[in-house]
Amino acid sequence: MSGEHRVIGRRHRKVDGRAKATGRARYTADLSRPGMLHAKILRSPYAHARIRSIDTSAATVLDGVHAVITGADLPGTYGIIVWTRDESPLCVGTASYVGDGVAAVAAETPELAELACRRIKVDWEPLEPVLSFRDALEKPDVRVRPGNKHGNVTKRTTLSFGDVEGGLAAADVRVAGEYYFENTNHVSIEPHAALAEWDAGAGVLTLWSCTQVPHYLHRELARVLELPQSRIRVIQPAIGAGFGGKSEPFDLEFVVAKLAMETGRPVKLVYTREEVFLAHRGRHPTRMRFEIGARRDGTITAVRARNELDGGAYSSFGLVTTYYSGQLLTAPLGLGAYEFSSTRVFTNKPACGAKRGHGSVQPRFAFECLLDEVAEAIGMDPIELRRRGDIGGFTTTINGQRITSNGAVRCLDAVEAASGWKEKFRKLPRGRGIGVALSMYICGTNYPIYPNEMPQSGVAVKADRSGRVTVFCGASDIGQGSDTALAEIVAEVLGLELADVSVKTQDTDLCPVDLGSYSSRVTFMCGNAAIAAVEQIAALIRAHVAAAWGCGPDDVLLDGSRVIDRRDTSNSKSFAEAVWLAEAAEKRPLVATGGYTTPKLGGDYRGGTIGASPAYSFTVHVAEVTVDEATGFVTVDKVWAAHDCGKALNPTVVEGQIQGSVYMGLGEAMLEQQGYDEAGRLTCPNLVDYKVPTAADTPEIEALIIESGDPEGPFGAKEAGEGPLHPIIPAIANAIYDAVGIRLREIPFHPARVLAALEARRATEGTR
């Protein structure tokens, strides 16, 4: 099929690539409006404390300070999940973590705003904090969220499929282990930023924000600011990455809006890097106890999982994360029986939320490491074990998820060949090793975050008399290339060059709703919506040109920015001339809209729709490592990453997503740790102490694209932005075992930890 495509499947620069690479792109922090003020937020020094009173007078009197607000000015609540709206822009009554916003100032300069914040006097009554999962359960009288129904438990769920006890009893081998996944941040290059402008005359608020979810932000702004949603416009400038860290509303968006309304002047706030760590919403630190039973032929008879999630001070995406920690493990390997129990608790720390691979990166680490032990126990090659266990395509998982295209086995074959697996596994010299891991991820969630029957994604396409075509969509391109995908799809269907297509995706006044950049949904859903819209334009053009030429619509080819008569290819018109013709005949502009609505999917049980997705991507990584047994340093020498993205709309972009995902997971595996001290303070709130890998720490990554061609994806495409992160952590862990015989069950694999494990093993072996 790809042979027929002119644009799809070919390598193109991202449509926004040049602007970003040359510094022309304008990010929110770059924006300035006449008379603009700067805001700062005063943050709690305590992990848990009651606010007895706030005296803002010393701040208000400063020359150049225009407004000071506190929680009393913005008492409304918001939250990304409509059932768990438990945040206010500024604390109302109690601060729940070190860094919780307490008051905010708008002033002539950021420095003055900061100075004014320091002058605000808060009378604090420190409360005992809850700082760990155990604390949360063992201190029921200390309540992080007093309004919560179940003490400090956000959500607890147990789901069981099949006979787990029987499956374990029937197993030839049973392996079990306890794993811990550390708290990590997204570390987007661009810190969160927002700018608000209030048109008092019209009563219209405009908010610029680097959000991943302009539509949800739009709704929550209206709720908290008590404005009609119709009087709010959300604009999204260029975005310097998100990775889930900007996929819900944040305090600064409400604060600048309120301050703009109070002062009548535009107000901007840009987070410091420390505030990015405090706002967080990163990976839930998760303790996992897993047990797998398997037969000698590799059949997995049962899996039992217990997951403990430390959610931090607010709900955020936690309801979904709790389910995802279990629901996304049931493919591509078939499980004879499966049970998981996941508990998320509140603690007095920055809230955890969604990070690239939301909810399922942690259990994949545990599961894929234990699978390596299963393979060893039954004496089977770990790639072969996974190949045998694959459930194939167009089937249903044990928890009722519909699987369509499945390229997992092709991914296994690809990395096996590319890495020279058979010559290396258990054959490399001591200190060097190779490991494999496999994963699956969703292409969007089947249900929107707030219940409604409207399409998840809407696209409008306008063909101009100039021949230029504009695509309008509420999607957020946070770097994953969704603007490029939209342009490519429209250019493909209309036979245009990419440069003939303009994409407008940043303004709620202009664009139909798309729900946002999360759950790897954008290319799949917007892509389908775009096809639905642009095919109507193509049909109109074909019909009217055919009428003029006296041929059938199918005889009208759209190619090379022209319409061509198939019967006589010397007969052609420019695309612009074709638009004139069609518009004249239609007596209306050529504008069409399309929507994407998910089919009804999911298991018929409570929670059965969480994890239901119209398609799933599959990834396999092989990592090769060298371990210095004297120092504990692990060097990842090379990674082979095969990813089934259905169809690569643009292979360069897909490879970029695979490489970026591997890089990000590698950072979690080797270096990153969002730690807290005994008082709940961040230990690494800057990019010197919080270690993201540098280029020098990043191995060669060979990205291998596998195209299974999903029947429901746009041109067969599935996601590529999140799935490719999952396997790298267990692949490295399994490679370390191959190299030096230690099983690491806790990330990051810091050299001190590796050395301690090596010494523990030497002690038990009594050798040295």
């Binding site: 070190v98 950021p110 120092t631 270690k691 720490d697």
Partner: protein
């Protein structure tokens, strides 16, 4: 984006002579700061770790930027940049530990700004102080800021646990470098290791108004048998400052016995120090047993600073290992009698 106190006004001086620089510093007292490459100063100012009232920019003093061969040694000026030092032919040929240390400073951009004088005089590293004003307010003032105790070592009385964490000073100390200093009382010289008091509250043995002009690395009487190497422990392969920095300079007799051995390290506390207790190894052959014993001596002596939140036992063990491996590599190179071979021991292995 520039935030914080950088946008405040301050006095800026770019003196044309060291005498003038010195007198401005004396006048400014505690309010005056020396600006060389700025990689340390500006970061501290941005975090409000120090105020910026009077800045004395050494950029106008050309003689401080020089690297030149003199009769008594190689002079490396205080404002010579790390990247210049790293690629300087004489430094690489005669003082490879210094060249390597300079090449391992920060990242490319930092190396193009950071200077030798800055490395010697830069502020100490403490993860419990090198934070934002907000963060420091949540924990309260540390000893250095007038508080009752050091946050990193609360039970240890009035001593600051912050650590020297620059690459060049250990290399300079191991190579026997001497600082040339200008002050109100004239010029004086000070061995690099003697420039550190060991007191984190006042880490440098410099008097008010004194300016480091540069370091002089003495030519070895034993050249070309003197070998040196610098090794750096850090979690990432770039950007990070050393958790442990060790430099080893070694001279061997023609028969292979150790004639001179100097090992210097940073990462313990406020001082860059020479490892003591190595005298017994002089005269010994550099056998595996001896290199292991040297490594053990370093591990015994090296007590990692608690101001860095990285496993202390591991840092201590690896410090000794780094020295042992470096000594082994230098011995191998010496046995090959290959005077140009540099024996870099990579950490982590690449």
């Amino acid at each position: 984006m520039i935030t914080g106190t950088l946008t405040r006004s301050f006095e800026y001086h770019r003196p044309g002579s060291v005498e003038e620089a010195s007198s401005i510093l004396v006048e400014g007292g505690g309010r005056a700061a020396v600006l060389a490459g700025g990689t340390d100063l500006l970061a501290r100012v941005k975090r409000s770790l120090r105020s910026l009232d009077v800045v004395v920019d050494l950029g106008g003093l050309d003689e401080l930027g020089r690297i030149e061969e003199r009769a008594e040694g190689l002079f490396v000026g205080a404002t010579a940049r790390a990247w210049e030092i790293a690629r300087h032919g004489t430094v690489a040929a005669c003082f490879p530990a210094l060249a390597r240390a300079a090449g391992l400073v920060g990242g490319v951009q930092i190396r193009h700004m950071a200077t030798l004088g800055g490395a010697v005089c830069s502020g100490l590293r403490c993860q419990l102080r090198d934070q934002s004003r907000f963060w420091r307010a949540t924990i309260g003032p540390c000893l250095l800021d007038g508080g009752p105790a050091c946050h990193a070592r609360p039970g240890a009385g009035p001593s600051c646990a912050a650590t020297a964490a620059c690459d060049l000073p250990p290399a300079l100390a191991a190579l026997g470098a001497v600082l040339e200093i200008h002050g109100p009382a004239g010029r004086r010289e000070l061995p690099v290791e003697a420039a550190y008091t060991g007191d984190g509250l006042r880490p440098l043995a410099l008097d008010p108004g004194e300016i480091v002009l540069g370091a002089r690395l003495p030519w070895s009487r034993r050249a070309p048998l003197v070998r040196s190497h610098y090794e750096k422990l850090r979690l990432r392969k770039a950007v990070d400052r050393p958790l442990v920095g060790v430099a080893l300079a070694l001279a061997l007799e023609p028969g292979g016995a150790i004639a001179e051995l100097r090992v210097a390290a940073c990462g313990q506390g406020p001082a860059v120090q020479l490892v003591p207790g190595l005298e017994p190894f002089v005269g010994a052959e550099l056998t595996t047993e001896v290199t292991e014993a040297i490594g053990r001596q370093v591990s015994r002596w090296f007590v990692p600073s608690p101001a860095l939140r990285i496993d202390q036992a591991w840092r201590r063990a690896v410090a000794g290992l780094m020295v042992r491996r470096t000594a082994e590599a230098l011995a191998r190179a010496a046995r090959r009698a290959d005077t140009t071979a540099s024996p870099p021991w990579e950490l982590p292995k690449t």
